[in-house]
Amino acid sequence: MAKDELMNYEQALAQFEVVIGLEVHVELNTKTKMFCGCKNEFGNEPNTNVCPICIGLPGSLPAVNKRAVESSISIGLALGCQIAPTGRFARKNYFYPDLAKNFQTSQYDEPIAFEGALEVEVPSGNKFNVLIERAHMEEDAGKLTHVGGATGRIQGAEYSLVDYNRAGVPLVEIVTKPVFGAGAEAPELAAAYVRSIRDIVRALNVSDARMERGNVRCDANVSLRPHGSEKLGTRTETKNVNSLRSIERAVRYEIQRQAAILAKGGSIIQETRHWHEDRGITSSGRPKSDADDYRYFPEPDLVPVQPSIEWIESLRAALPENPAERRRRLAADWGFSELEFRDVVNAGLLDQIEETVAAGAKPQSARKWWGGELARVANAEDKDVTELSITPAQVAELASLVEGGKINDRLAREVLTYVLAGEGSPAEVVAARGLEVVSDDGALIAAIDAALASQPDVLDAIREGRMQAAGAVIGAVMKAMKGSADAARVRELLIEKANA
């Protein structure tokens, strides 16, 4: 549907109630695959992490990865789910060339975890309690590359190539119950929900949770119904929307598209739709029909999973603090503005700042260093900030050197460079390289006089209240003293001189 045919968003919401449902697939970061000992690793040569099991050779049999089960239980617990006393694997039968056995080993009526809830906060500060229907274990499919035709798309391709390295990678699929009442914030809620799932699995350390690599993938169900109607409308399922921003956009688009159709008296086709990031639209995929008869039945080659209470409780005891609760706690402790806090969360700096504060730094200093200079360096080196060779304790030490007046910001940045280069702690670098600020008034006054000699008007300007004129002199002094001057003291001395 062309953009101008969509219904205006506000109008759509005025006419219809939005119901969404989300299915999130999380790839676990186990060492090996779900049912075989092949490496679970991204980016290897095609078909090198494969064996008779994950390419579905005749006669091969699956064997369940214990760690994947533990990770799945941990996810279930973190989502407040009940853990099934008996979980079962089931076969989901359908033909597709990326599915080595032409059935996916998944779970059906006895998932490992069920009936949980997750509180999700949207940017407005509104909070929604999203009910989780189930979280189940399954295996990923291989990767298809379409060759020939336009831009690697499936349509018009001459042939396709299959790499089964990803086939059998463990997945946990988390399915919500229908979410009502988000209204205009449904798109934001969808994105915030996926972000929450991502944060949780990251905090649990059960997934790398890198959306750009497909570690976390979202299918978004959207349906509309007239306000006051009891009956759910026909839903569409938009597949594999792989960034938080596109989840929001795709849901918004579907609301506007469906509203336009319904308002004209049309009906929604129950179908799979595909999101096109470039064009900002969804397009029709396969209609859901009785061809989707997956003929689930219990996997006869695997026996049930019956986790003991002790096993579940030991996993529960090992759960990290719930990310949402932790954020609430830290926001209250640190006193950042809402915007500052959100930036810190988005940049994934909570751990660093928390540890830096614990090492004695003020929260604002910790935020300033991690969110500023260190984030810049990490970005330039295409690294995660956690991969930099500097510890939170060292950042705290740096902050305390600045606050104690031993170094200024400029020197501090220089010190950071040497710390990152492995020259030692900030204090060691300052001592070894003699980077302390000069606050000896005699030396400073001499430098000020030298600077004023070339710009004598500055003192008059300061006397007239044009303080910005001081900058040129301060800059010259700093330059002359190679950055080791205490800028605040230079400023004081200059004002004293002008008013003398």
Binding site: P52, I55, G56, L57, P58, G59, S60, L61, P62, A63, V64, R91, N93, F95, P97, A100, K101, N102, F103, S160, V162, D290, D293, R295, Y296, F297, P300, D301, L302, V303
Partner: protein
Amino acid sequence: MSDLIRKNASELVELLNSKQVSSVEVTQAHIDRTNAVDADVHSYLHVSPESALATAAEIDRKRAAGEPLHPLAGLPIAVKDNLTTTDAPTTSGSKILEGWVPQYDATVVAKLRAAGMPILGKTNLDEFAMGSSTEFSAFGPSHNPWDLDRIPGGSGGGSSSAVASFQAPLAIGSDTGGSIRFPAAVTGTVGTKPTYGAVSRYGLIALASSLDQIGPVSRNVLDAALLQDVIAGYDKHDSTSLPESLGSMVEAAKKMDVKGLRIGVIKELTGAGFQPGVQARFNESLTLLQNAGAEIVEVSCPSFEYAIAAYYLILPAEASSNLAKFDSVRFGLRVTPEGNPTIERVMAATREAGFGPEVKRRIILGTYALSSGYYDAYYGSAQKVRTLIQRDFDAAFAKADVLVSPTAPTTAFKLGEKLEDPLAMYLNDIATIPANLAGIPGMSIPNGLAEEDGLPVGIQLLAPAREDARLYQVGAALEKMHEDVWGKRMIDFAPELEVK
């Protein structure tokens, strides 16, 4: 005919271990026999004389050097062609796998190799083990050495006829509903289906995963015991394999004592529907057992009435899923249809051309049994019948230590006789199927000849799960009583085959 090939495996083992014959001599004698008779019998789909002789020579060398060897080292064996072998094609009797050389050895094959047993070749079977006559092999039927116009049983007619025609002292079979025991009965040989999980299924091309079990085929009970002790045991690659050892079958076979044992006759598996000669031989064996001090009791298993129906739902359902992987992508046949072939059309055309009529029939039946709207009535009900059958067995085994019945209602029928009548074919398995549904062990041993046609008759012994040893104890004892009566082994009544 070389004297060597008529010997029991246990005798050959003694000759080999005492260095009275070499493995090369024994192996060559069997290869010669195959060259002489297999054009008529057609036991093998593939023969491996070079690799068998190479293994034999290696064992002879090791023996001469005094290296420690497995007791069965040097004893040649035939393997059913639904077990994967890296050095020989594995077809499972299907065109769809013609020429496929697997990338891995089945666990059982690996165990045979580790024991130093030369593998003579791969034996014929009904396509994917679906059948009771070997007539559904895509590569032509095997023939019964007792009468070449008759079937050697199925699906393991290749293994049974190989052993009955002295082309191999031992063979591996697989039994999903009687595919080891029925062929044994009609060829005057011994066949055991061990307890489900006693032998690893890894590398067995699955028919119905919850029913399939690999077992020994031989000419006497002790020989079967020797082989079961080689192939049994826990395998981490098969999640349904039993973690515990079931003990030594050889020791059980050597006990040869039935005094005080309660032998249960299953009321529902006698009388009407059983050929007179089959029934008469069965009754005589009961008398022998009673005379030897066993107590004969009658037991009733009313749910057996539904066993065939349940079996012909569960088997096709699981098979329809297991056989989905035969899709022309990773291995096997690819048929490209005319016109504009898409992967969907290529898969459908390949499966049309590659599967025979019985396989297609069962895949479609299984697809039906699992499809939405029919699952509960068919697959679901069948799984409940399975529970009833287990309960029947539990009740019967409360009254009896071992249960007995004729192995099959009739002696070997003529090739072609039941080919167009699937239901009549399915009825053959009436006595063998319940053991597969319940997972319990079963054995068929020679039980004389039916006077009306002079063909072999078998008696089936059944024991509770994990009590395989009882089969060997009672089987060996009854075999001894028979041989005392007959004055020779039953196989020695078989007519001489014409040697080419």
